[in-house]
């Protein structure tokens, strides 16, 4: 069983590092939570199933020790992106890779069960989710309650690892599907797009959960959204300021966002913040042929330039 193998591997890795970060059961059957293992007895608390939604790599740039880390396919892209930008040292981390067949979106599951407290949840055959609440039992299909990133996942197997738990899995999703939702959105008329974003951002409370959960946002304590000098953003809670914050976040992630989806998952108000970043990623791909977090030798496009840009034409008025 992959869970047993995971525990064995982590128990071994534990001796090479100061701390191992994995997943353990959270406050209720529907949630997993990160687990920082500093004692061998804790290895037994580890779990591995579709509840393991967090991207654990976001702790890496801030930990000044040797770290062992458990990553899914999407999380491994963050590690590659960190290495491209020189934010972590490869020698300081030991990566335990887990090929992944999909996780759940807690928001979608709650929607299906009318937000009832969950008594138990089991995963059958890798594609069914059986949820038991006080009102009864419901069988959900994993493909219906997984986050959007899983339905278009191109990298189910971690792209970088020291130990792999299980056999590598190949993606069966067509590459064009990744940005299909962006292309659909662009079919809307211009005015409707502005209204859509103004309506979504109206709910934003600038809690900065999306920014802090983002693994690539490492400026957190010095973020320009909070500085008073220069004064980028007002303390007022108008739609302008909220829009501005999300533009700051998206533009600073241009060519760096690995589409781990954490920003959208953690938003307490259910705003689809991932869309903006996916749009920029789509442009990065078209303009510079660049995909974040995939090849170690790549250079992020906003950090470099070409004297001749084949895809950028001079604009005429």
């Amino acid at each position: 069983m992959s869970l047993e193998k995971l525990k064995e591997t982590v128990a071994k890795v534990f001796h090479e590092v100061d701390v191992v970060i994995g997943y353990k059961q959270g406050f209720d059957p529907l949630h997993a939570t990160p687990c920082f293992i500093t004692m061998p007895e804790q290895v037994d608390q580890l779990i591995w199933n579709p509840l393991c939604v967090q991207n654990l790599t976001s702790y890496l740039p801030f930990l000044k020790k040797k770290v062992g880390i458990v990553v899914k396919g999407c999380d491994s892209r963050t590690i590659i992106q960190y290495m491209q930008e020189g934010l972590i040292k490869r020698d300081n981390i030991v990566i335990v890779g887990l090929p992944c067949t999909g996780i759940i979106s807690v928001k979608k599951v709650l929607h299906e069960i009318d937000n009832q407290p969950v008594e138990s949840i089991t995963f059958r055959d890798g594609s069914n989710v059986v949820v038991k609440t006080v009102k009864g039992q419901k069988i959900l299909s994993l493909s219906d309650v997984c986050p959007d990133k899983c339905s278009t996942c191109q990298y189910p197997t971690p792209l970088i690892y020291d130990h792999l738990i299980g056999e590598p899995i190949k993606s069966d999703k067509p590459p064009e599907s990744v940005y299909e939702d962006i292309r659909e959105f662009e079919k809307k008329p211009l005015k409707e797009r502005l209204e859509y974003w103004e309506k979504e951002f109206d709910r934003c409370i600038r809690c900065y959960a999306c920014r802090n959960a983002c693994p690539m946002c490492i400026c957190q304590d010095s973020c320009i959204a909070e500085t008073r000098d220069p004064h980028w953003m007002s303390q007022k809670l108008s739609i302008t300021e909220k829009f501005m914050f999300h533009m700051i976040h998206a533009v600073h992630l241009a060519g760096r966002c690995v589409e781990c989806g954490e920003c959208e998952r953690v938003c307490p108000m259910g705003i689809p913040v991932n869309k903006l970043k996916k749009k920029i990623n789509l442009e990065m791909k078209e303009l510079f042929g660049y995909e974040p977090g995939v090849n170690l030798e790549d250079k992020p496009p906003m950090y470099t330039f070409n004297v001749e840009e084949r895809k950028i034409e001079e604009h005429k008025l």
Partner: protein, 145 residues
């Protein structure tokens, strides 16, 4: 959104100090007739222009934004405008996604001697903005000047 003269819209221009600002100056010295909607901000290099300047301007009351720098390969600081080109192209493609017409933002390369070309660009861009009309978003401009 209040405007100063009855028919002016707010257009912000970020001009690089060495080429484009000089070009605008040349146009002025040569007494070329130009629309007066543009308000110029001088920056040392087009590479100084953070795409977020453009976004902040558009969200806070500007109807159009123009960025101009030295021609690629002729940057006073060698490579500033190469970076600018990448960033501004990314921004130009992002703006329609959030519902702002991409014709409200234009970036170009104008050298210090191209006074006539400056006049052409600024006249055409102002006409374009006037055709698009004032930008109305649900913004609150905190302080009216």
């Amino acid at each position: 959104m209040s405007v100063i003269a009855a028919k002016e819209l707010r257009i912000i221009g970020f001009l690089c100090n060495w080429c484009s600002y000089g070009g605008a100056d040349t146009a002025g010295v040569s007494r070329f007739k130009q629309p007066t909607d543009l308000r110029i901000i001088r920056v040392p290099c087009s590479g100084r222009v953070d795409p977020l300047f453009v976004v902040k301007a558009l969200l806070n009351g500007a109807d159009g934004v123009l960025v101009s720098g030295c021609h690629p390969r002729d940057c006073h600081y060698s490579d500033g405008n190469f970076y600018a080109r990448r960033r501004l192209e990314m921004l130009k493609r992002l703006l329609p996604f959030i519902g702002i017409d991409e014709r409200r933002f234009h970036y170009t390369w104008i050298s210090a001697s191209e006074g006539a070309r400056w006049q052409q660009v600024i006249t055409d861009f102002t006409k374009q903005i006037h055709k698009l009309g004032p930008l109305s978003t649900k913004t609150e401009v905190m302080v009216e000047s």
